[in-house]
Subunit: 202 residues, 2 copies
DNA sequence: CTCACGATTGACTCGTCAGTCAATGCGGTG
DNA sequence: CACCGCATTGACTGACGAGTCAATCGTGAG
């Protein structure tokens, strides 16, 4: 029994991740993806309308998982700091599990968001808004000080994590199991200390 | 008297900033740059070896200014927190002064270090290292706690700022004079509170 | 066994651009 | 004025690569 239809589609997506990570979205040919997947050129166009749609699909697939993870975290009855820790954890684990996919999402999609559809921007904004909501709620409850707007806090939080991933992606930071765990703690410790009510407001 | 030779080169660079910001590096033609500059197609190749070299030049020009600003800040005999504040200030002001150029640098270069020469990575790393040095020195002096490695701290700091700029660039955050000033304070307050010795280590 | 239909193939088309180059303009110099 | 050398022009070329499509394969139903 050979690969079924759905499998081929998956193979193309997985191959695309490797190719995009290696050569960049603009630096690769559709034929590179087909070759990497061990599939004929035309089959890519059987499953996807265009090269763009392949990238879109990868992004949406993963980003929706992230959004769901954030919502799930927010549903729990735990301290705001713990929520942020779970989110940081999830993102770092996503990188640990599939660094190439995260590289594509961080490096290629942001750039693409510029040129193609605003669709992605809306999705990305959803994540920021969810994080901002968590911060806003924490401020209402008095857990976080309210001298920083939730929007800025969300940006600082997400930006810090993303930059650490970027450091790993471009080998500007050493990476390994120890660093992954360390990073979760560092990011949350740093950002939350700054947001915490107990922190001195300078 | 019409524009001199050096002026034309400058005009091409300035036009490139506008075009790259509007259409992205990959989404524009060299002829778009020439048109925007009000100059013949071939002249671009008189001053630059290739389309890539135009982007390279823009990036290096600006990044070297940033590096010099960081070094100058570090030379002063002021508290580490004040140093970070000056750096954040410089970056935000760079955006205020020329948002299109910063957009190009952040979106097309920093995030594209992948496809682009590794040359840029070395330059980018220099900035991170300078910031990390400031943090390391602060830890030695006991001003910052040493539970966070200087490298991570540098990433968190730079990442937080860059993400705020990205928010402005993609209109995910409101921008204006007030926001620019606010942002400087927020980023430094948040990150430094987390790094400060006085902050609770969780 | 045969038909039908989706899966699969890869050669081909067709537009798009980066980069070239021969021709022309123009300011300075002797 | 005559000449030189750099600045400037824009039509042209050659490569490249996204997307098309007609032909072939494989399989499940009748």
């Amino acid at each position: 029994m050979s690969a079924t239809a759905a499998d081929k589609r998956r193979m193309i997506l997985d191959a695309a991740v490797r190719v995009f990570a290696r050569q960049g979205f603009n630096g690769c040919r559709v034929s590179d993806i087909a070759d990497e997947a061990g599939v004929a050129y035309g089959l890519v166009y059987h499953y996807f309308r265009s090269k763009d749609e392949v990238l879109d699909t990868l992004f949406l697939e993963r980003w929706n998982v992230l959004l769901e993870a954030i919502r799930e975290t927010d549903r729990q009855d735990i301290a705001p700091r713990e929520k942020l820790r779970q989110i940081a954890s999830f993102i770092v684990d996503s990188y640990r599990h599939d660094p190439e996919l995260m590289k594509v999402i961080i490096v290629e999609v942001t750039r693409a968001a510029n040129s193609f559809g605003q669709t992605h921007l809306a999705k990305i904004r959803e994540a920021y808004d969810l994080i901002a909501d968590i911060v806003a709620k924490a401020q209402d409850e008095g857990a976080f000080k309210d001298t920083i707007t939730p929007q800025f806090a969300a940006m600082a939080f997400y930006g810090a994590i993303e930059q650490v991933l970027t450091g790993w992606i471009f080998e500007l930071l050493p990476q390994g199991e120890a660093e992954f765990e360390q990073a979760k703690g560092f990011v949350v410790e740093t950002i939350c200390a700054g947001l915490d009510r107990a922190a001195p407001t300078v």
